[in-house]
Symmetry: C2
Subunit: 337 residues, 2 copies
């Protein structure tokens, strides 16, 4: 197993990324390759205590930014941390994973170009784990494919089921289709067709349509949708949560009485926010590419990076790639993973 961490990606790179790696090797005793600016990485490493032989550095000389055009950046910034990490992973074989908090677009484009698809996969999908009510719900595709066909959604359901069952150790995870009504006949052309296909796919545990108002109730383990809708849902989740929590804070701080009350609820509020935080649950896997690829949140600090690395270890330990390969290239009507 080889784990490559893009030390230069995300808002807090490289310092927090490197710290997360140090915590990970101390806790999980795995070998990590950090890809990035050698001097900066070495500087943070030199301050820490950890088994030196577990971390090595693969130098890179540029960074792909969030505002770089993804496809162009992958093609042109050949010495960037993302490109060098992906190429090293490709060379190391399917038994390797890349973890990055960098540009999602560049990681998706790079993953597709550099790692390639697992045989039989029509479109790899980005699965984002969402902390829902006492639960984790995997939303896919959450942004890799803006235009989808029903058979892509069928594969997303299989990819998500394999991942969920193996990573979260849940037998027969429940798959729901994101739709504008719960009834069978509801939806647009795509979801109506996908509903029929999913109903016939015996390899998955399809529980029917789910409405957007029920995403947070934790009743589905996997929610399947096209990448356009999935991306809208994810970004609304982010925007609306911030809006509500900030609005609430401002309302409370607007009166003296509120300020006193606010101080008293601070602890409970923090624990609630913590429950709702994505730091706990690691990153989003890009499922269907040949090799592991975990996208950590751009705002990840050390703790979130450590969790993403934990997830990368599980990804390899539980042989997700081989299981996807076997399932997709066997009769999907009968197989169990």
């Amino acid at each position: 197993m080889r784990i490559f961490v893009d030390a230069m990606g995300g808002d807090n790179a490289p310092k927090e990324i490197v710290k997360g790696c140090i915590d990970a090797v101390n806790e999980y005793h795995v070998q990590l390759t950090l890809v990035g600016d050698e001097t900066q990485i070495a500087q943070t490493l030199s301050l820490a205590s950890y088994p030196k032989q577990l971390i090595n550095i693969l130098p890179s000389y540029s960074v792909i930014n969030f505002n770089d055009e993804p496809v162009k950046a992958i093609r042109e910034k050949k010495d960037s941390s993302i490109v060098i990490a992906l190429e090293a992973a490709k060379k190391a074989g399917a038994d390797s994973v890349v973890v990055s908090a960098g540009s999602t677009g560049a990681l998706l484009a790079g993953g597709l170009f550099k790692l390639g698809r697992i045989k039989g996969i029509k479109r790899p999908a980005l699965g984002t784990p969402i902390p829902t009510k006492n639960h984790i719900t995997l939303l896919l595709d959450s942004g890799a494919n803006a235009d989808c066909k029903a058979e892509y959604l069928q594969q997303f359901a299989i990819l998500g089921s394999i991942y969920y069952q193996n990573i979260y150790q849940q037998v027969n995870p429940k798959v729901a289709l994101l739709n504008i009504g719960t009834e069978t006949e509801k939806g647009n052309i795509l979801t109506k067709e996908a509903f029929q296909l999913l109903s016939k796919t015996r390899a998955i545990n399809f529980i029917g349509n789910i409405e957007a108002r029920d995403i947070m109730n934790g009743k589905a383990d996997i929610i399947v949708t096209d990448g356009f809708t999935g991306n809208i849902v994810l970004k609304q989740l982010e925007g609306l949560s911030n809006y509500l929590l900030n609005g609430l804070k401002q309302a409370i701080l607007s009166s003296f009485r509120g300020k006193v009350g606010g101080a008293l609820i601070q602890k409970d509020l923090q624990s609630f926010k913590h429950e709702f935080s994505s730091d706990e649950i690691g990153g989003a896997p890009f499922l269907g590419v040949r090799g592991g690829l975990i996208k950590a949140h751009g705002s990840s600090k050390a703790y979130a990076i450590k969790n993403a690395i934990k997830q990368a270890i599980a990804y390899m330990d539980r042989d997700i790639i081989a299981k996807i390969d076997n399932t997709i290239n066997t009769n999907t009507d009968s197989i169990k993973f």
Copy 2:
């Protein structure tokens, strides 16, 4: 002007609907026709003080429920409050409005079948006013058309602009396209094409793409999208707000300290929730049908119904139907409304 109110639609019908009507005639001195169960309506009316000549009853004998299949219900429940209200409005001419808190699906199907489209309108759209930061943002289509073409979205932008400018008295309202990135080239096939069309439509003030994370910031007056995505956004808004506010409440109530703090912030919390409430801003207009049709929220109480009636009055006073007709059937590249 004729205003027909479906007295039987919604969770709190008929009592709260009738009360809202009483408040509306007392405040706005308009003539209302209440459609519904004569005995029940008369009972609530008999307890109130208002100018008796301003309210009359048009009897209906059944109700279309939220779980009735909309198209079938419109066809078969001919003596329902929705069908009778729509037919009466049709007969009364384009200078009439129907207000209902009943089944959205039935109102959309009924509006289309009974009232028909304004000449030149490809697809009428449901516009939902969302309370955003110090602002109201109109989201359309929020559920009438699950599958859309780019030219429908172009018309939605025009419909929304006419409505917004006239109802909220804002010159040159800003139109944004809901998309998965702010850059011009981002999106799925539909939004890429719609972006081009909207950019060329000189009748509107197109400000470009907006991401779902920015919906609540109030920077757009009108957000245009297909009815599938719009419905997902609306329902997520509802579900996530409830989830967050309830989760927060539970977290606070879980400790003694929190309970005391919670009591102190109660007032500020209420004022924040009030700001965020859709009761203030009336209902959702079904734009493009021949006649006014305002869908109030299913949970509407008297206050929300009164506001929906206020909106219906403005709809007619400001001649929205004629303005849509003129704009759509003239060169949309040069017209100002």
